[in-house]
Symmetry: C2
Subunit: 251 residues, 2 copies
């Protein structure tokens, strides 16, 4: 038995969800449910809004689905760990992919950080939000990761310096050393929250690395002896952080 | 300083590499180096064959690159961990992507396993090998992961049953429980090698799960409270296995 029901389509709605509510569908939703999925009145769907948990609902409408009739709650609202995934933006499809992956891994916040070797300097954060929603709809996730506006690396480091949060810096130049032991040792600092930073494909510039290594509460993490593409490193690093200090521990 | 040189193109060659060797380029390689990268005679490249380490070489040829002149070894041959990544094949681009990711994570062998809910039953293993080579070329990897022919789940379980290898079964229905502690506890069994199994998008059928849970040396691994797509689960599970029992431990 799976932890949630897979068969019904899942829909993110920006509206209050409560038993008996009738929520109008916008044109895109109506078109998707009616013309792509070929659903009509009475078909069951699951709805969530990131605040009120997940609800069973049925479609209503004369010809095509026009609204949802909200029935009963299927799962209570959860909370994401206080884990920010900070990253140098990638190009196009790989950025979409990276945002979706970070959501699946349970990041609480996506923070684009601009570095010297960042390939992309203008960023469509609305598109990133759409990717967050799509991944949440597909993967049964109830809480939407926040999407922050891009900020320069130095500026980001200044804003977080006094926060007491652990900075996990994935550094491809770090000596290979037991990453699990390193994360376990940093768990006290992680209690204030974790910022996980993955650099651009070209790596950090030498002076950027110097600034990073002077930050308080920093953990320089080596992800094994091989170089990975940035989107791979994102998933690998999030897996280790979640498994040692996040909500994968079962505690 | 990075662990290897990034600027020169890296080329997989199926030929012996030794100082002074002259290795002819095939038409695709010649075209790629000459017309796409616009390199000409004298340009440096790095070459590897999966056996003899990495070598610095220079291009030679009258008009376009026709052969490589092998100069000196830049890195000795390494070995991949005895880690098989077994997976239900995905469709098209996501299968390419998954093969590339498994290589970046350092899997030693890719084993397609056909299950009840596998979406894809015929598989182009030549294409998978090309993806292995491409990922190795791009990411500075010296040892090529092996690509096995697809096999039915039950048949695969029979062939490996007496091997003494640890079977890490990523089961989305397992109770969420500390995956690092579970892997640490299984390290003695992992000494014989590790087979890591990630299921299809639709999950395993109930009877397949029953058969799996009766296997010797099995570790049923939960990857946190969220459901992930199969390619995401692959990277996450490989990260945990490599960090606890593979070659990311720095030992």
């Amino acid at each position: 038995m799976s932890r949630y029901e897979f068969r019904s389509p899942r829909l993110f709605l920006d509206a209050a969800l409560v038993a008996g509510a009738r929520v109008p569908l916008n044109r895109d939703q109506s078109n998707y449910l009616g013309n792509v999925l070929r659903l009509s009145s009475g078909a069951p769907v699951l709805a969530f809004n990131g605040r009120d948990g997940e609800w069973r609902a049925v479609l209503a409408g004369r010809k095509r689905p026009e609204e949802l009739e909200v029935a009963e709650q299927t799962r209570p609202q959860d909370r994401l760990p206080d884990l920010t995934y900070a990253f140098a933006p990638l190009k196009h499809a790989r950025l979409d992919y990276m945002a979706q992956k970070a959501v699946e891994m349970g990041a609480g916040r996506l923070q684009p950080v601009l570095t010297r070797h960042t390939q992309v300097h203008r960023l469509n954060t609305e598109r990133m939000r759409a990717n967050v929603i799509e991944a949440a709809e597909q993967c049964g996730i109830l809480s939407l990761a926040g999407v922050e506006e891009p900020v320069a690396l130095e500026r980001w480091l200044e804003t977080r310096a006094e926060s007491g949060r652990l900075l996990v810096f994935c550094d491809e130049d770090a000596e290979v050393a037991d990453p699990v032991a390193a994360l376990q040792g940093a768990r006290p600092a992680a209690a204030q929250g974790i910022d996980l930073l993955v650099g651009p494909e070209g790596g950090f510039a030498a002076d950027e690395r110097d600034v990073l290594l002077r930050q308080p509460n920093i953990l320089r993490l080596a992800l094994g002896p091989r170089i990975m593409r940035a989107d791979t490193a994102a998933v690998a690093a999030l897996a280790l952080v979640q498994a040692v200090a996040g909500d994968w521990t079962g505690q």
